[in-house]
Symmetry: C2
DNA sequence: TTGAAAGCGCTAACAT
DNA sequence: ATGTTAGCGCTTTCAA
């Protein structure tokens, strides 16, 4: 048993072991070009025997082809993004392309850094969350000469393609449903995140529709950090202490909504007659709660799939497509916490 | 405004624009070697002006240095792994190294593929979850000539270094605490995942300690797929319908434990006097539940940090270290669902 | 079906 | 402080 060589094995080593040229070995390992069955077998055996792992860096440089798709998202803790990712992975699986994930923590500067870093590996495409980016980031993406798909949001001007939902519309539809059910004294509970543009747009759509009906948000409460479930409880307690007359609570995400729901249940609140609740996202995780929280599905999986499909299509047929715009329609789930008609 | 060139910009373009050699431009952009302040400024201006994004593929090939660390984990949906990742990212942030994530879905074959794919990019190190891998995967890692840190688990023989907790010990300690509290008719609820070796080891440690006290698991129930919270409710209902006499339920993770807790609370069970519950992981997410579930912290964040620190140290000082073994000690949290002494 | 030569864009090593 | 040369490990292209 020889000690493992310090130098990683090269194609040349495999070729020598198999008694063929580097070129032939290369053809076998990539499955391109005509190679006789006999040589193919010899090369494959040799590669396996020595434990050859190809050097994609060299391959990519020589061919200027990189089977990587950069995926840039704000966070992995959010539960929403792993689901988007899973949609991307599944769709990309059959195409020879591979997702590579970068996380921005909702910081524009970090997004810029991550994009720069990823583009320097010359990926075949970029999927990036949101339509808001620094000028430099937009310029980088526009100049990269590869497909760019902005996801999650369609309220704005994409650099190239985009796939998502309209968060303004989502906010409007939720407001309409709440008004239709007869609720009027509405509290809003959200995250203290000026850079979460999608939450902001939902809020804008929400308040605008209320305003048209002559209704204003009665009170609001924001949090940052910590366990979302716990924060939801706490915020709910706080806002109701201040405004016990509220008859509806709209949460910017399901997790804090679930916390609020648990709090209200423990207080014996009459839901949804006395007070209604709604969140946003449609997280499956919460299916086991005592009551089903009203929410709106963000189409996470499908967003991932369609974004990946756009990249894959353009990869297969370069100089085709461009500027695709896909707006998905989220569906309102009333659950048990939003009544369907006035009392 | 000229149309963006189809060909990405090269270092040569920047060098020409700045009126220096490629080599000088390279030195400026990497911040290595002596360059006069004047030329440095000219090069940086030129690079910014044309929007140059370096080609790391070429750089890596020329220098045989890649600032990437492969991180291979079973899943992103688990909540545990994003936390490990966050520990890794934070620790790597100051080192110039960058994590690249691969997901295996708990499948050995997929793990092998993912490792092969990642190793072909010649990363500076590998962090991989678990100690169980296919023969081929172990061989690949051993031959790669880079630091390899296996994480989450210390019950076994690492290829190189490892950082984690002993899941057998975790199972034993939980069993000891349950016995000490006087519970005797114990049910186990877990995932139908033969390939989740850590859950298996916890179960082994758990049953062994029970056996030493002459206690056997009274009943068990397994699930797969679906919302963990909901499954936890359902399994709990099922197992208690079969064995209403159970006085303790041990869940293989906190999420199903939380489901069980919600179910029991809705049934008005007396917890922890009538029946006790415990999970595993110490997920912060669940802090807002009506009662705090007994659990055992899996040291996720710290595992990520220490693993990254090992890679970083060896990257800074090659041919140093090797074979590090770090066993972290999880702490038992009694919460509100596991009493501390017999009734 | 196979091989030889050239070069991808950058950096190490050695000039100057 | 700056430039020149060679070459990283592979693939493209062309020739046999």
């Amino acid at each position: 048993m020889a000690a493992p060589p310090r130098r990683p094995l090269t194609l040349r080593d495999v070729a020598e072991a198999a008694g063929v040229s580097e070129m032939t070995a290369s053809r076998v390992l990539r499955g391109k070009g005509d190679v006789s069955e006999a040589t193919r077998a010899r090369v494959l055996d040799a590669a396996r025997a020595v434990g050859y792992v190809p050097n994609k860096i060299a391959g990519a440089l020589a061919s200027s082809r990189v089977n990587l798709v950069a995926v840039v998202i704000p966070s992995l803790g959010n539960l929403v993004f792993p689901e988007v990712l899973s949609g991307i992975s599944r769709t990309l699986a059959d195409t020879g392309l591979q997702p590579v994930v970068g996380v921005t923590d909702y910081l524009p500067e970090k997004e810029e850094q991550v994009l720069f870093e990823m583009l320097s590996w010359r990926p075949s495409g970029v999927i990036v969350a949101g339509l808001e980016h620094s000028e430099a980031a937009r310029a980088m993406l526009a100049r990269a000469g590869i497909p760019v798909v902005e996801i999650m949001d369609t309220d704005g001007e994409p650099i190239d393609a985009c796939v998502g939902i309209s968060h303004r519309r989502a906010g409007r539809e939720m407001a309409a449903a709440i008004l239709a059910a007869g609720y009027r004294r509405i509290g809003f509970l959200g995250t203290k995140m000026p850079l979460d543009h999608r939450a902001r747009k939902r809020f804008e759509g929400f308040t605008r529709t209320l305003a048209k009906a002559g209704v204003e948000i009665s009170d609001r409460e924001f949090y940052s950090g910590g366990s979302a479930l716990l924060k939801g409880r706490e915020m709910t307690e706080v806002i109701l202490a201040r405004r016990p007359d509220l008859d509806f609570l709209y949460y910017s995400n399901d997790m804090i909504g679930a916390g609020g729901l648990l709090h209200l249940l423990s207080k014996g609140a009459r839901i949804p007659e006395g007070i209604g609740l709604a969140g946003f996202n449609g997280i499956e995780l919460l299916d086991g709660l005592p009551m089903q929280l009203a929410t709106m599905d963000a189409c996470r999986r499908e967003i991932g799939e369609q974004a990946a499909a756009i990249i894959a299509a353009r990869h297969a047929a370069p100089d085709t497509g461009g500027g695709e715009r896909v707006e998905l329609m989220p569906t309102l789930q009333y659950g048990d916490t939003l009544r369907r008609r006035p009392l």
